[in-house]
């Protein structure tokens, strides 16, 4: 999405350039979020689930039901409800979740770090393994290793994640006992540290609870590897295709003409260039992991955002759904921005 602008200009111009960029970004963020809210909000209202039941339950007498309905403001016209929601949302108040009774933001502050932790680790695994594999496949195009990477990647695209997840648990947890089971940390350790960031690995490490830390590691490793595998599948394939593209460029031949070693040609020259579009791919795959880990979270009893939103949706807990969607939307836009910035950093042509 990077809109490239010709370079040059003095400090004043550069300043103005960044100001326009910032303004543009704010507008993009605002309109995207507004669109997200609007779409979610109206979808939420046409969903044929009565949100009142979620609060009062099935057995509630009629008057209890009516009162709850009014408290939710469901008797107002749709547009008015939306307006009220927007006004509150602007002040950071996304209402309370019906299901958990907490303010939605509190819930998200709890659930999001769990997802973040998992997705980040997953992406790291995907990047660390996926890029070298992709490079190898590109350099040895058509060889056994290339086919292997291709099939590995294709399998990653095609295997249902819940199947792989359960099989992973069965083998590595139940049979082999190499990793800990579902959940973020064992109950024994869960009260040894105080949640600060809600990212268990960080919290335990910062508080020096190393036993708890290692326990958390052994819990996260399997789901993270699983997500990592899916991200690896994507990243390695994209790396391969970008590298093939770069390796066919004239400047690579020029680098060889200079007498550089093949390693240097590949890593310093081709990869540096392939890294530019790769950044976008990694950001995208990261965003996908952040939003798409619903099933993984279910299987690994991971109290993350994906589960939270799905669960809320099924219970017509619209405040929670809206809040969660907004957060994911914002993350998406933010990741876009970050990859945009990195893009600029890596590619002098867009500076």
């Amino acid at each position: 999405m990077a809109s490239s602008v010709a370079n040059g200009g003095g400090g004043h111009d550069a300043l103005r350039f960044y100001l326009t960029k910032t303004a543009q970004f704010v507008i993009v963020l605002a309109t995207t979020l507004l669109g997200l809210v609007a779409v979610t909000f109206f979808i939420g209202r046409v969903v044929p689930i009565d949100p009142v039941i979620a609060i009062v339950g099935d057995r509630a007498p009629a008057h209890v039901y009516e009162r709850a309905r009014q408290e939710l403001g469901l008797d107002l016209p749709l547009i008015q409800q939306f307006w009220i929601y927007l006004k509150k949302a602007a002040t950071g108040d996304f209402g309370n979740s019906v299901l958990t009774t907490n303010p939605v933001m509190t819930d998200i502050a709890n659930a999001f770090p769990a997802t973040l932790e998992l997705a980040t680790l997953g992406t790291l695994i995907g990047v660390i393994l996926g890029i070298p594999l992709g490079i190898l496949a590109a350099v040895k195009r058509g060889s056994f290793i290339d086919q292997f990477v291709r099939v590995l990647g294709l399998a990653g695209y095609s295997i249902p994640i819940f199947w792989l997840g359960l099989m992973g648990l069965l083998v590595f947890y139940a049979k082999l006992g190499w990793v800990a089971g579902p959940g973020r940390i064992d109950v024994t350790y869960s009260y040894l540290y105080t949640p600060v960031t809600n990212i268990v690995l960080l919290d335990t490490a910062m508080q020096g609870q190393w036993d708890a830390f290692w326990d958390a590691v052994s819990h996260i490793i399997l789901p993270a590897c699983l997500l990592g595998y899916f991200s690896l599948a994507y990243i390695s394939r994209m790396t391969r295709s970008f590298m093939l593209n770069e390796l066919a460029q004239e400047y690579v031949i020029a680098a060889r003409v200079k007498g550089l070693s093949e390693m240097r040609v590949i890593w310093r020259h081709a990869l540096r260039n392939a890294a530019v579009p790769l950044v976008t791919v990694i950001a995208l795959s990261y965003a996908n992991l952040l939003e798409g880990s619903v099933l993984t979270e279910t299987i690994f009893a991971w109290p993350g955002l994906g589960q939270y939103i799905t669960n809320s949706l099924q219970n017509a807990d619209m405040n929670a759904v809206l809040g969660g969607t907004l957060v994911i939307g914002a993350v998406f836009v933010l990741l876009n921005l970050v990859s945009d910035l990195l893009y600029r950093l890596l590619d002098p042509r867009t500076r």
């Binding site: 004239e250 400047y251 007498g259 042509r349």
Partner: protein, 278 residues
């Protein structure tokens, strides 16, 4: 002339493709001393592939064979990868056609020159830097300091081409292959570039293979010319004698150009004789 710098005999480059095998270069032989050798021919006649085969940079499906392919007595066909690497860029260099594509877009020009230098000379960062700057100056760059830290997209085609030359000459090679170094440039700029190459040959005693499709240019710039057609050398002659070429192909090429000097109408066109390709 003593021992030739480059000795090529029966060089062949084949590409095995789906549609069959294409022989891009078919039995080219020549010897090169410390002189300017031009290779001309129309598009697809195998000029570039000849140049690349010498450096061992024929792209993947290609296959290179030759009776003899020796540089300064070193057999390039049997040389180890390591030897080839030290030769490449060190003693043989190549200036490529289009600076827009041949310079790494994400590295500054200075970095790329330094990299070339350090690949062959044990030198510290500062020494390499000085050398690079000196080189930029040698190719008549107006503000070497500034150009040093520019990225390829920030310089014009002419500057890029000169930077490319600087990069390829920083190691003081004995042989330079220049593959259409000026065809992407304006007439006025290309004259400047040629002047630089010319000086290098006459002052350093470097061997130069100058690939071009511009007969007029080659005849005025080089000492000796190889005329290629369909992968073969159809004629080899002194540049100044190009007007007296024997081969009908060379003659045709010379005549079909419009000139300011006289107004021929219609222009003579080339009637290809299948026999030329044999």
């Amino acid at each position: 002339m003593t021992k030739p710098l480059l000795d090529v005999e029966d060089l062949r480059v084949r590409f095995h493709l789906r549609t069959g095998t294409v022989e891009a270069v078919r039995g080219v032989s020549f010897q090169l001393g410390r002189e300017r050798l031009g290779i001309v021919g129309e598009s697809g006649s195998g000029k570039s592939q000849t140049g690349r085969a010498i450096l061992g940079l024929t792209p993947p499906p290609g296959e290179v064979t030759a009776q003899r392919l020796a540089f300064d007595g070193i057999d390039l066909l049997t040389a180890s990868k390591r030897t080839l690497r030290t030769l490449r860029g060190g003693r043989i260099s190549m200036v490529m056609q289009d600076p827009k594509y041949s310079l790494n877009p994400v590295m500054t020009i200075g970095e790329q020159i330094i990299e070339a230098y350090k690949a062959h000379a044990k030198a510290g960062r500062n020494e390499a830097r000085d050398k690079a700057l000196a080189m930029l100056e040698a190719v008549k760059m107006r503000d070497p300091q500034r150009v040093f830290s520019l990225y390829p997209h920030e310089v014009s085609g002419g500057m890029g081409q000169r930077a490319m030359i600087a990069m390829m000459l920083v190691t003081d090679p004995d042989l330079l292959i220049a593959d259409e170094p000026t065809s992407a440039l304006d007439v006025t700029v290309s004259m400047e570039v040629l002047r630089i190459l010319d000086e290098l040959v006459s002052e350093r005693g470097m061997g130069l293979i100058f690939i071009s499709h511009d007969l007029k240019l080659v005849s005025s710039f080089c000492d000796r010319v190889l005329v290629m057609y369909a992968g073969r050398v159809v004629e080899e002659l002194e540049a100044k004698n190009l007007r007296e070429a024997k081969h009908p192909y060379t003659q045709g090429l010379m005549r079909c150009l419009p000139t300011l000097a006289d107004d021929v109408r219609p222009l003579p066109t080339l009637n290809r004789d299948p026999a030329w390709a044999l």
